[in-house]
Amino acid sequence: MTGNVWVVLPLAWVGGGAFLLGLIGRLWRRARNPILAALTALIFGGGLLLQLPVFAEVNGALLGNGGLPRWGTAAPGGIVLEATPSALLLSTLALGMGLCAALYSGGYMARDPRYPVYYPLLLLMVAGLQGMLLTTDLFNLYLFCELMSVAAYALVAFRRHTDTAIEAGFKYLILGSVGTLVMLFGIACIYREMGELALPLAAFAHGIWGRVGTASILVGLGLKSGIVPLHTWLPDAYGRAPSSVSALLASVVSKSTLIVLLQVCLGLGMPASDLGLLLILFAFLNMTLGNGLALVQENTKRLLAYSSIAQTGYIMFSLGVGLRYGLPGALQAGMFLLLTHAVMKATAFFSKGVCHFYCDTSTVAELRGTAQQLPLAALTFSLAVAGLAGVPPLAGFVSKWFILAEGVRAADALIYVGMAIFLLNSLLALGYYLPLIVRVFQPLDKEDTAPRFALSPWMAGVLLLLGALIIAIGLSPGPWLAWVG
């Protein structure tokens, strides 16, 4: 167990925090929801602080001063964690979003009697995600992936008094388990070929088992990232989970899985240009199917879920262009969209959750009158949705600009077709984003009473913070872009 201990500390802190919080919830019966929410937020915040020292070292490594910080033993049965720049970025994003979700839950979970179980699950999910990002061998990847997934299944089905939640959780469980099983099969194949599992391996270049293994891992992780046609669990899961959970799932969990997928495939020796082509082709499916199906959704959260599938497509497109044509700018643009999408989608889910909490709305039609009853939520929701639609000067527009600008640079017929598909999809997306905004600002009928609700400070704070972030990233994308780079 040697190496830089700061690599593992945030992970250990969050994972340990989960167990500690579980104990507290069980032993200290009088711990109310706000107390547990504050403790969870403290743990997430602490995790963020603990991550700071690694940043300097990773920056140094990028400039050529020594290798990336690692921790662990490389012996059989050991574990090695490595803080790659993308892992660090995503784990910071996950902790930040976790912090927001925890604070938000301080108000949002007020009516759920089972809140003592909720917070440890939240922490476990993020810990699993961090592990997936940091680990450098396939076996531990599998373990962390299962840890994250199990927590996610439980969270999706958290409101078990509603049968829809149970149904969605069950569907997610079945499909997710199939995904992890396929992945396990792939790992076994690769172990048969190479006799070891520590990445990077050159498995792909060798025999049939290496190829089958890589393909299986691609399918398994692809399912977790919601790549069409393996997305079928996603709308149900995002649509039925509590909004705070949907926000986390949509903004970081599935997107980080996508990045892990890329890291693993590249680590297994898959040529970058092939992987890029694969991503671009599946990106078209994701965009078109996500946007097309979002158009016909009546439930707001399902609509947002389909929009998430489409946005995954945009991210895949940009990353694919970067990998296929060796353009670091396109990779950067893809990561930037990942970041902005996380902020915007989380804001949308959080705002939607506020509407559900106070007015019990679930369909798009019921959003009517939100501007009168919950002005702040209406504002942040519109900001987030407008941002997702790519309206300048919000964050989403800047990311689309970068993606398209990099696409032009690739100067290839496939990419011109791809950009046309991309633009047509952005137009198609307006068909559902704009009616959402219109609906939110539509006044209630005269005879309906429209009480104005006082927003819980927990939720209001998070909404304000994220809404401000959407504008800030849009107005000055420079530092964020540099951070992503």
Partner: protein, 490 residues
């Protein structure tokens, strides 16, 4: 910081600051909202005129900040002679619209937001003309769409406003996306988004790419100009928008499409590169002109009549641009300015009539001449103005456009354009006669309207007459922009 950069910052900063104050005041500032907005509009117009001496001295005021250094994107504002006619028009129309709102808009707790959005709409337009880099241009270009769309969505008249706002957004956004692709190709050609670099030359596009980019620019900007057949958003948006917004849409925003054509295809490419597009532009202009005029004759809603007249008038501008010669382009620029005044005037008259009678169907109106003498006088002058009667301004610009047309080899087209302008006379007379002359229909009563509405309308009428009698200054402005266009070959 010199005086010029200060003025440049004021042009954008004053309305932005006023909008911010209005938003921060929330419901409390209702009584002052109109004053704050009006004050900032006056300051902006003053600052625009303050830039004139430098321009006459041969300078081009500019201000630049580095924005996203990682990808070579900066924030640069700049004024040249191409900007000026559009900037002046936009600032003046904003002032007129705000003043008109004082009388038209009923003050309630949301008034602050109304004026704030009106100012943001204006910032979008002036920013579009001032932006000297592609990224910033697109941001302002879309800001003007968003602000106007929200205004229609929230303050629009009639139950269909949600659907109309949606149609307006999607239609014009489609045009914007085409423009965006063109901008991205230009960005990639030089590796920087600055128009300075683009103007400096030293880059070129493959022939196929060049044609694609120019086509995208022309179609994209035509959507904003509401040229047939991509005009479909205009009649609904103009009819449903509250009158001050309609004034800004029709008198200023439509011309932004013409500005886009002048700023991108015309000033970045040479006459030979544009030449293949001359005939399509002239044809589209002619068809738009005839179609808009015929629809204006067929409509019954007085607001829609004037709305279709905009489709027709934008056709003249596109025709003038398509001639690719001195007279035509100069005429098109003049037409932007004159059309702004006349169109604002006619919409103001229509707004007063609708306010006073509560009716908007021309068959149910008539004989109002006696009841509203001042408004009638303004309407007659506005109607004659749009019909191209000398010495009112539009006569000058149409003269230039037609003479530009006859200089080209397409004499037949130009003759058709000239005769099609007769249709304008017909719908203008129908508008005047149907509302102010003839028998007054049974049950038509007039209620008194706010004095401010009438005063603004009269002021604009006076401006129209003055501009028509003393057009030298405006001709001079339009003259100065010509060396910037088509590789300086004009």
């Amino acid at each position: 910081m010199t005086l010029d950069t200060l003025l440049l910052e004021v042009v954008l900063g004053a309305p932005l600051l006023a909008a911010l104050i209005l938003v921060l005041l929330r419901g409390r500032g209702t009584r002052f909202a109109g004053w704050i907005a009006g004050g900032s509009a006056v300051v902006t117009l003053g600052a625009v005129f303050g830039l004139l001496p430098t321009l006459y001295g041969g300078g081009e005021p500019a201000v630049a900040f580095s924005w996203i250094p990682a990808v070579n994107i900066q924030l640069r504002l700049h004024v040249d002679w191409l900007t000026l006619p559009f900037l002046v028009t936009e600032a003046a129309v904003t002032l007129a619209a705000v003043l008109y709102s004082w009388g038209y808009h009923k003050a309630d707790e949301r008034s602050g937001y109304f004026y704030a959005l009106l100012l943001l709409f204006a910032v979008g337009m002036s920013g579009t003309t001032l932006a000297d880099d592609l990224f910033l241009f697109y941001i302002f270009w879309e800001l003007m769409l968003i602000a106007s769309c929200v205004l229609i969505l929230v303050w629009g008249e009639g139950a269909r406003r949600g659907a109309v706002a949606l149609k307006y957004f999607i239609f014009t956004h489609l045009g914007s996306l085409m423009v965006l692709v063109g901008l991205l190709v230009l960005y990639n050609a030089t590796g920087s988004d600055s128009l300075v670099a683009l103007r400096a030359g030293g880059w070129e596009l493959a022939p196929g790419l060049l044609t694609t980019v120019l086509t995208l620019f022309f179609i994209g900007f035509s959507v904003k100009m509401a040229i047939f057949p991509v005009h479909l958003w205009l009649p609904d948006a103009h009819t449903v928008a509250p009158m001050p917004v309609t004034i800004m849409l029709a008198a200023a925003m439509l011309s932004m499409g013409a500005y886009g054509i002048l700023r991108f295809p015309f000033s970045l490419f040479t006459a030979e590169q544009i030449a293949p597009f001359a005939l399509p532009l002239m044809l589209a202009g002619l068809i738009s002109e005839v179609y808009g005029a015929l629809m204006a004759l067929a409509e019954k809603d007085i607001k829609r009549i004037i709305a279709y007249s905009s489709v027709s008038q934008m056709g003249y501008i596109l025709f003038g641009l398509g001639t690719l010669n001195r007279a035509g382009i100069e005429g098109a620029t003049l037409h932007v300015i004159y059309h702004a005044i006349v169109k604002a005037l006619l919409f103001m008259v229509a707004g007063i009539v609708i306010r006073a009678t509560g009716r908007r169907n021309i068959d149910e109106l008539g004989g109002l001449g006696r009841a509203m003498p001042w408004v009638t006088a303004c309407a007659v002058i506005g109607g004659l103005g749009i019909a191209g009667m000398p010495p009112l301004g539009i006569f000058n610009s149409e003269w230039m456009i037609f003479s530009g047309g006859f200089e080209t080899t397409h004499i037949a087209l130009s003759a058709l354009t000239l005769f099609a302008s007769l249709l304008t006379v017909v719908y203008a007379l129908r508008f005047l006669g149907g509302i102010f002359l003839g028998e007054r229909p049974a049950g038509l009563t007039t209620s008194p309207v706010s004095k401010i509405l009438v005063a603004t309308t009269v002021a604009l009428t006076v401006l129209l007459i003055i501009e028509g009698l003393f057009p030298a200054a405006i001709f001079d402005w339009a003259e100065h922009e010509l060396p910037l266009l088509l590789g300086g070959g004009l």
